[in-house]
């Protein structure tokens, strides 16, 4: 089940220069599971996205355009073909 991750230039240093990445996962898995998969591919990225308390920090994360804050946060589930966009926190203001 591919989920596309879209990354702006400002954050590509966390993703080894990638601006798009296709994350293979299981049907019905959570955004948090996707981030764990990202961590395996791009070590260190998780600590940029999530603070030690498990909250989204430094960034805003969107599923098909909608902010995870207005969905179920990191527990939001994804399906085949979904797109996750990540932007720096300050870009939202």
């Amino acid at each position: 089940m591919p989920v596309k991750i879209i990354i702006p230039g400002s954050l590509k240093r966390w993703f080894e220069g990638e601006t798009e990445y296709s994350c293979q996962g299981d049907q019905g898995e959570r955004i948090l599971d996707c981030i764990d998969r990202l961590e395996k591919r791009f070590p260190g990225v998780k600590e940029h996205l999530i603070d030690p308390k498990g909250n989204i920090s430094n960034v805003l994360i969107f599923l098909n355009g909608d902010n995870l804050r207005s969905l179920d946060g990191l527990s939001t589930t994804v399906k085949d073909g979904d797109e996750i966009s990540i932007i720096p926190l300050a870009a939202g203001g």
Binding site: I6, P8, G9, S10, E20, N58, L60, F62, N64, G65, D66, N67, R69, S70, E83, S85, I87, P88, L89, A90, A91, G92, G93
Partner: protein
Amino acid sequence: MIQDNPDSKFIFIFHPKIMLGKKYTIRNGQEMTNGEVLQFWGKWIVLGEKLWLDELAIKLDPFVESKEIPVIKYDRVPSVNLGIEECVMMVYCDRRDRDNVWQILSRFGVKLKAWVTEKETMEMWLPGGQLLERWIESKNFDAATQNVVREDSQARLGYIFDHPDEVFVPWEQ
């Protein structure tokens, strides 16, 4: 029309009627209230190099002229002090129109899909909000100045939350 005033942090694209004092927060001929703005108003976020955003602005200007997009603003320079290396463009519209506006943006190569409500932005700039507190920290203000900044933010943004039935008044930027 594109308004590029070197004294402003932002470059704006708005309908010429805005120059005549008309507001862009209008729906079906009615000015939106604070409560409606908090409920429906927001923006698609576009990040990119300044030159690319300049080119995109020229392509989007006709859609502002035709009122399909209410207003757009973008950075003249990146907000490096807030950790952003690219310029940010904000393409504003009512949530109920956002799918149409997204179709326009995607036609011109925008891939990053990020909708931020005005309510979310205001909450981040209220005292205790992540953006206001980070901005204060980046400026190294003394304690007294920090308090003034927080009080000003509370007065300006808090008013919008506290007076939902009043007509929304955009502030100068």
